[in-house]
């Protein structure tokens, strides 16, 4: 087991492709596998901000939604016939949204960040709701076509569920590779330095706010790409995409899987979606069960599933030591440090 762990740790991207190449044959149906990939990418984007930079965003629905509407409007309303152009439009829109919302949210630090990001996402929800001539409002944006995808000069049909799954796998896999590259770069090291000790990172001469903003933009771009893929998958963008529940879902996925670990968000997305799928067969009140499980995780297993697994001795070396965000919390003043 230890050797397998070391192998995955050394070649995470090939390992990712191998696991997800066989994944649709393991889960009950292909659609679930596609959803795990899309929401895994969404949670991965969220985790870049929370797990690696230490900023808890409660408004990632905004970027998922901007990506979905960007892609959806480009393909359904503007008559663009290239899936790649559609996805790019969604990604750029989400990244721009990340820059704007990030700029405003970063005016306040600490715990405010979660509340501000939540509020701005909710603002976007109401804007989307009222701009029904673009977004379709309450009915959702309908009529997103399933177009063949141009791959290396050949147009490939992605109409069957399996073909669509592998198309998503290619896009998500590429995004995962890019994210891995970002995290391994000096920039990625600065992100983690900010998470570990913001003041020291600032003292070392890094422009902390700028780095955080960039992290926000990247995080928004990944979430937006996931949103665009989801629009292609559903062929419709429901207004709920922008609702705060979507933000809550991605928070839960990342934490269940393990914030601050590279593959944790995929594990979390898988567990969450399978749990939802199984529980909703038995009871309409599945959010009650999921909420209770989530509370238990925060209380007893804050490293999440993947974080706990890779933290075990036997898996030594896999994914590096998991580091959940450490900003020590004690009720005000008990730190014994005089505040200015």
């Amino acid at each position: 087991m230890g050797r397998v762990g070391a192998l995955i740790a050394r070649h995470p991207i090939p390992a990712f492709f191998v696991v997800f190449a066989v994944f649709p044959f393991v889960v009950p149906y292909k659609a679930l596998a596609t959803q795990v990939l899309i929401y895994g990418l969404f949670a991965l984007g969220f985790n870049l901000l929370y797990g690696y930079t230490g900023l808890l965003s409660f408004g990632h629905a905004a970027f998922f939604g901007l990506g979905a509407y960007g892609t959806g409007v480009t393909l359904a309303r503007l008559g663009v016939t290239s899936v790649w152009a559609g996805l790019a439009a969604g990604l750029v829109l989400a990244a721009a949204g990340g820059a704007l919302i990030g700029y405003l949210c970063l005016r306040r630090r600490g715990i405010y960040f979660a509340m501000l990001s939540l509020a701005f996402a909710q603002l976007l929800y109401f804007v989307g709701f009222h701009l029904s001539w673009i977004t379709g409002g309450d009915d959702g944006l309908r009529g997103i076509p399933v177009l063949p995808v141009g791959l290396a000069g050949v147009r490939v049909s992605i109409e069957t569920p399996l073909a669509f799954y592998y198309f998503v796998l290619v896009v998500v896999g590429a995004a995962v590779a890019v994210l891995k590259r970002i995290l391994d770069s000096p920039f990625g090291a600065v992100l983690q330095a900010i998470r570990e000790n913001t003041d020291r990172a600032a003292a070392c001469g890094y422009d902390v706010t700028r780095v955080k903003l960039l992290s926000f933009v990247f995080s928004g771009a990944f979430a937006g790409l996931a949103g665009g893929l989801n629009a292609l998958y559903l062929q419709v963008v429901p207004i709920d995409t922008l609702y705060w529940t979507t933000s809550g879902q991605v928070v839960m996925m990342a934490l269940l899987g393990g914030a601050g670990t590279f593959f944790g968000p995929f594990v979390g997305a898988g567990v969450f979606l399978i749990l939802e799928d199984v529980l909703s067969v038995f009871t309409e009140s599945w959010p009650l069960v999921v909420g209770a499980i989530f509370m238990a995780f925060v209380r007893f297993l804050p490293r999440g599933i993947w974080g706990t697994v890779v933290g075990l001795e036997i898996m030594g070396g896999l994914d590096g030591p998991p580091k959940p965000p450490e900003r020590s919390h004690t009720p005000r003043g008990t730190r014994g440090v005089a505040r200015p």
Binding site: R108, L118, A292, T334
Partner: protein, 293 residues
């Protein structure tokens, strides 16, 4: 659009009523945050539970005044349990953890309310004594809404007297300044934290019962309003009680006037106010720059 001073005045009164609900919610949030540095994400669910428990007690006793007192007390009790068994074990961990845990709790509570009371909303009639309208000279205004304004004023004054004039209030204020020193003086702060969490949740419960006859009772009733209350707290300055009151009333008025002049903007205007405040004065009206960051 028909426009005259009387309509404007009555719209201002409506805004004042909405503002009082924001004030009660933001006071609880701010009190808890000021002392415990905990963002209580389940505050909206406690507001919702306040309305449902008020409805339940009302059905049981047929007396609105008993419901108005008992429901907040039950919510206060629930707050005590929440602090003791859910939030306290997280002290000393990441500052985000209590927020995440209470987020999970809010999901559980909303779903539990759907399970127990059903997904359909309930109607909650104001008490017979306050059923009519009062002639204010320029307009007829529902008596119940005037009562909500008065009740909130009484609660706010009582809270102020409690914090400023009692020994326990002194301990709470000292705890927000420097908990270490307060502990060194031999005061059991664990009990104070417990109590403050309870008071904050009781205020949310009171807001729920008061709002129920005006806004209806349904499982998701706390969702939007708690996000707006977060905005009030940010605008007023986190941890500042005066800020919660001023910003709560201001945002109530802004929402009410926007509903009148540009109904479509009403959902959005709260967040625009927040964006402007963040750009102009990031620490909020009464927040100290750099506090708790």
């Amino acid at each position: 659009m028909p426009f005259d001073a009387a309509t404007l005045l009555s719209q201002l009164f409506t805004g004042l009523v909405l503002g009082t609900i924001y004030v009660l919610l933001a006071l609880g949030l701010s009190l808890i945050f000021g002392l415990l540095t905990v963002v209580n994400f389940s505050h909206g669910s406690f507001y919702m539970l306040g309305a449902y428990l008020g409805f339940f007690v009302l059905g049981f006793t047929k007396n609105f005044w008993i419901a108005l007192v008992v429901a907040p007390l039950l919510l206060g009790l629930l707050g005590l349990l929440t602090e003791r068994w859910l939030v306290r074990p997280l002290y000393g961990r990441s500052i985000d953890d209590p927020l995440l845990l209470t987020f999970g709790l809010s999901l559980v509570l909303v779903e539990a309310a759907r399970l127990v009371w059903g997904k359909m909303g309930l109607t909650f009639d104001p008490p017979a004594a306050l059923a009519g309208a009062v002639n204010l000279g320029f307009t007829y205004f529902p008596a119940y809404r005037l009562f909500v304004i008065a009740a909130t004023a009484v609660v706010v004054v009582a809270l102020w007297l409690f914090l400023e004039r009692t020994t326990l209030g002194l301990v709470i204020r000292a705890g927000t300044r420097d908990a270490l020193i307060v502990r060194a003086l031999g005061i059991n702060l664990n009990l104070v934290w417990l109590l403050v969490f309870g008071i904050g949740c009781a205020l949310a419960g009171l807001a729920g019962v008061l709002a129920a006859p005006m806004r209806g009772v349904y499982p998701e009733m706390g969702v939007t309003i708690v996000i707006e209350s977060f905005v009030v707290v940010v605008v007023g300055g986190m941890g500042s009680l005066l800020g919660a009151i001023v910003a709560g009333l201001l945002i109530g008025e802004v929402v009410s006037l926007t509903t009148f002049f540009a109904p479509k903007m009403a959902d959005i205007v709260v967040f625009l106010v927040m964006a402007v405040v963040l750009l102009v004065r990031p620490s909020g009206f009464f927040g100290e720059a750099g506090l708790m960051e």
